[in-house]
């Protein structure tokens, strides 16, 4: 049983107009096996939270802490965080020319586990995971995310989630831009990883649709850089019906 704690997190970003505070005191605790959904209006800081957990250099933490089983995550480099068991499925996955998916996956797996995976079982695992996500085998020879459609990029993120087996995953709008079938396939992937590894999930989304497949234990309403309300799955239904008006006004 692991626990990821975010305490009073304040984050700024450098803009052309100067330093801007985006996260204004985020408190959030996720335990192994729990699924937390985060919903909130555009620009409220959801991706900023995701990137800050992963350690993107663009974001500066000015106050607060992130602890993984009591260990100071903020003191870790980006790759150390990943090796400690944190995973970020990105809203906009990056293209890497000339680096094939198979090379990338093997390199990442080797980095995470500290040793090269046994070739035969690894190839089998990759093939199976790709089949489960309805990804054509030819993707392994293509360059990372290059020319992938929006939906294909998202599947590729979940493929990594399944293969790298982190303890906690932040999924930043993994459902955006997916068609109905892809949404189901990708959700099943998340659920498989959740079940197999007792994964703790932080699911950032704009739509309740995905919550029909991935059942959240908690829903957090994220407004203006912090959590404005918390509840169970029923909170998502209410947000769908009423929007964020009441929170934005209150703010």
């Amino acid at each position: 049983m692991s626990v990821l704690e975010i305490k009073n997190l304040h984050v700024t970003v450098e803009t052309e107009q100067g330093v801007k505070e985006i996260l204004k005191g985020v408190d959030l605790t996720i335990r192994s096996g729990e699924i937390h959904a985060i919903m909130g209006p555009n620009g409220s800081g959801k991706s900023t939270l995701a990137y800050s957990i992963a350690g993107h250099p663009k974001y500066t933490v000015t106050e607060g802490e992130i602890l993984l089983d009591g260990e100071d995550v903020l003191a870790m480099s980006v790759d150390e965080r990943a090796r400690a068991g944190l995973f970020l499925a990105m809203q906009y996955p990056v293209e890497i020319p000339g680096v094939s998916v198979s090379n990338f996956l093997r390199t990442a797996k080797t980095a995470i586990t500290g040793e090269a995976p046994a070739l035969r079982t690894w190839i089998k695992d990759v093939r199976e995971s790709m089949e489960n996500l309805r990804m054509d085998a030819s993707f392994s020879e293509r360059n990372v995310n290059e020319g992938f459609s929006g939906g294909e990029k998202k599947r590729h993120e979940i493929l990594q989630l399944e293969l790298l087996k982190p303890r906690f995953a932040v999924l930043d709008e993994t459902d955006s831009g997916l068609d109905v079938d892809a949404l189901k396939v990708v959700s099943e992937g998340v659920n498989r990883a959740h079940k197999a590894n007792d994964l703790g999930v932080l699911l950032i989304t704009h739509y309740t649709r995905i919550l029909n497949y991935i059942k959240p234990d908690f829903v957090h309403v994220f407004v203006a850089g912090k959590v404005a309300e918390e509840g169970g799955a029923e909170l998502a239904e209410r947000l769908e019906a009423e929007g964020y008006d009441r929170y934005v006004k209150a703010n």
Binding site: A54, D79, G98, T107, A108, A111
Partner: protein
């Protein structure tokens, strides 16, 4: 690769920065060394080099290089030495600079590579240097009409070589020519390529330079028959003390021709220096021209220098498209972040990004042996960092 404008060392050129190229047409041509002035930095052609770096290649007298050249035979291919007085020699291209003229004058024999029918396998000409005697070599590659072939020129060993390579691509032929420079330290190689493309022919011309103190290649593609297409690719990696200079030139002289020029390089270590001068001339007759040239450089450490200058001269308004891009910069932070977020260390992530950045062009040669051997060379280069 994508690079955000805030990265250190980035310089994007736009049409506004283009230097007019009227000099290109008027450039003097001669096979005689004495027709060219002694080389100096004040000349535009040699402004990035000290004459000492040429290691004597601008001299009146150079040694022959026949002994250092070897090749294998296969069906459809005929390779032989002919006297350079043969009328076929010099028919494709005449020197435009002093080193090229010196090489022209001093190579008494020319290696004639005739591709008479399509080749089943890539053909390789191996040039393996053994010492630093300033030498001259002349190659003449003639592709007959309607054939398809891959030819690899493989330069290695220790050498000081001035060279001319003439390339004739027959009507409707497809030639894939790859020039690989993995010279040992201390080597100097200055080579002029003159390619002439027949009607509806296609030339894929790749220059891959990884080894040698100074390697300067000036490939000229003349599109003087309608419907011809050239793809000129270059890939290079300069470490400390290396100077790699590429000056591709596409001469659009006939209607409806297409050219794509893509050069990518990486630089690492003190005084690693690369130069890319990409010239494209679209003459009055070249209506319907479609051209694009691009140069990207990755600066891996401080103390490196990448000069990158695209020149585009357009004499007709009736063109399909003409564009260029040039950028030299640091790593793309987003790419590094993506890899590191998957557990890969920063050093390893950098290696992977550079490797991919350059490998992409090597892969375009479609020659498995070249891809395999240059992948290894690239890995070794990256280890040094």
């Amino acid at each position: 690769m994508s690079q955000s404008p805030n990265q250190h060392g980035l310089a994007e050129h736009s049409h506004g920065a283009v230097i007019p190229l009227q000099i290109r047409i008027d450039r003097p041509k001669s096979t005689s060394v004495s027709d060219f002035p002694a080389i100096s930095k004040t000349q535009d052609l040699w402004r990035y080099l000290d004459v000492e770096q040429l290691a004597g290649l601008d001299a009146d007298v150079l040694a022959e290089y026949k002994e250092q050249v070897s090749f294998t035979s296969q069906e459809g291919l005929s390779v032989s030495w002919i006297p350079s007085t043969d009328s076929r020699v010099g028919a494709i291209g005449i020197p435009e600079d002093r080193v090229s003229a010196a090489a022209y004058t001093n190579a008494s024999e020319t290696l004639l590579v005739e591709i008479n029918s399509s080749l089943a396998e890539p053909a390789t000409i191996s040039i393996t240097g053994v010492d630093k005697a300033a030498s001259a070599l002349h190659l003449l590659v003639v592709t007959k009409p309607q054939v398809e072939a891959t030819l690899v020129l493989d330069y290695r060993g220790i050498g000081v070589l001035g060279e001319n390579v003439e390339i004739s691509v027959g009507d409707q032929s497809r030639l894939n020519l790859v020039s690989v420079q993995t010279w040992d330290k201390g080597s100097v190689h200055v080579s002029a390529h003159y390619a002439k493309l027949g009607r509806n022919s296609f030339l894929k011309h790749t220059v891959a330079t990884f080894g040698g103190d100074l390697v300067r290649i000036t490939p000229i593609s003349t599109l003087s028959s309608p419907g011809a297409e050239v793809e000129m690719n270059g890939v290079y990696f300069a470490n400390s003390g290396q100077h790699i200079e590429n000056r591709p030139f596409v001469d659009h002289a006939a209607p409806n021709c297409k050219s794509r020029v893509t050069y990518k390089g990486a630089l690492s270590g003190d005084k690693a220096h690369t130069v890319w001068i990409g010239d494209v001339l679209i003459r009055v007759a070249a209506e319907g021209t479609d051209t694009y040239e691009l140069n990207r450089n990755l600066l891996l450490t401080d103390g490196t220098r990448a000069d990158s200058v695209p020149n585009l001269e357009i004499e007709t308004g009736e063109i399909q498209g003409a564009g260029h891009a040039s950028a030299s910069g640091r790593f793309d932070d987003e790419q590094l972040f993506y890899l590191q977020a998957r557990g890969v260390t920063e050093a390893e992530a950098k290696r992977l990004v550079v490797f991919g950045f350059l490998l992409e062009l090597i892969q375009r040669t479609n020659v498995p042996e070249v891809i395999e051997s240059l992948s290894k060379v690239l890995e070794e280069k990256l280890e040094v960092n």
